[in-house]
């Protein structure tokens, strides 16, 4: 290295020139801008996708619970417009009639802070069925009509269940 003259050393100095650095910085800034714009467009779609998955899971759970209870239900009434009461035919000899008393089992569905609750009035057992529920309305009809709205992270869905009394 010592044998190389100073003029040559200056001329072929290691690294970028100022102009090169400036151009690279501008290019990097453009890439960052494009990426951020792209992310702004893309981020809500990701959130919506996550929300949609969540809603799908919760809706299926709610639907399975309702199906399980409606399977043996012989009576269903709207209590107010956001509460559902079911009378499930039960006992050793199910008579097929809604007695609204033992041995029939009474089940109550209602909404508390975005969570659909199920309460078994015969045993007192209560549990949360699904969350992310934005509205739960019950119209007596006939036919009895249950509207359930689900909402999460920009995604929403509304499901309607119609039950026909015989």
């Amino acid at each position: 290295m010592d044998k190389i003259p100073l003029t040559l050393r200056r001329r072929f100095r290691r690294g970028f020139t100022l102009i090169e650095l400036m151009v690279v910085s501008i290019l990097m800034a453009i890439v960052v801008l494009i990426t951020s714009q792209f992310w702004r467009w893309f981020s809500p779609s990701v959130a919506e996708m996550i929300g949609r998955e969540h809603i799908l899971g919760e809706a299926r759970i709610a639907m399975q619970n309702l199906a399980a209870d409606f399977g043996s239900a012989v009576g269903a009434v709207a209590v107010g417009n956001n509460r559902l009461m079911l009378c499930k035919d039960s006992g050793d000899f199910p008579n097929g009639l809604a007695d609204w008393a033992a041995p029939d089992v009474l089940v109550d569905y209602y909404l508390v802070d975005g969570t659909l609750q199920r309460s078994d009035l015969s045993t007192g057992a209560e549990f949360a069925v699904a969350d992310g529920i934005s509205n739960f309305t019950v119209e007596q009809g006939p036919p009895l009509r249950i509207t359930m709205g689900l909402q999460r992270k920009g995604a929403s869905r509304q499901l309607v269940f119609i039950w026909s009394t015989p």
Partner: protein, 127 residues
């Protein structure tokens, strides 16, 4: 001035950093990579919608309860139909012979929505 190295040799000797063209190419590759990543997410999003359509295609469901008292006894779930007019459960007719249902064995398979039950009918004296 005496030259110990040729211009080309000196340039090669001191060359350690990337060239401008190399940097530009790397930026283009980076951008293409980002676009590819976005494409992956797009495919994932479409697949999620496809699954959603398959697993819960409708917004309105007709809840059809069990018409058979045996089925009600073993708590079989209602059918969720997508079209109206499905047969609902039939109310009991007076004069039918009444039976007491004795449930001997019951196993439920929630994954396949099936239940296997062993029941025995005992004529009900009060019925």
């Amino acid at each position: 001035m005496k030259r110990l190295l040729s211009k080309y040799q000196a340039r090669k000797f001191f060359a350690g950093a990337f060239s401008f063209v190399e940097l530009q190419i790397s930026l283009v590759i980076l951008a293409v990579g980002l676009l590819g990543f976005a494409g992956l997410f797009r495919i994932y999003s479409l697949q999620t919608r496809h699954i959603e359509q398959n697993s819960m295609p409708a917004s309105t469901y007709y809840v059809v309860g069990q018409s058979n008292r045996w089925m009600r006894q073993i708590e079989m779930p209602a059918d969720m139909e997508q079209t109206a007019g499905q047969s609902a459960w039939i109310p009991p007719v007076s004069g039918d012979k009444a039976y007491k249902i004795q449930l001997n064995r019951l196993s439920k398979d929630f994954d396949n929505s099936t239940a296997d039950a062993n029941v025995m009918l005992v004529e009900d004296a009060n019925g």
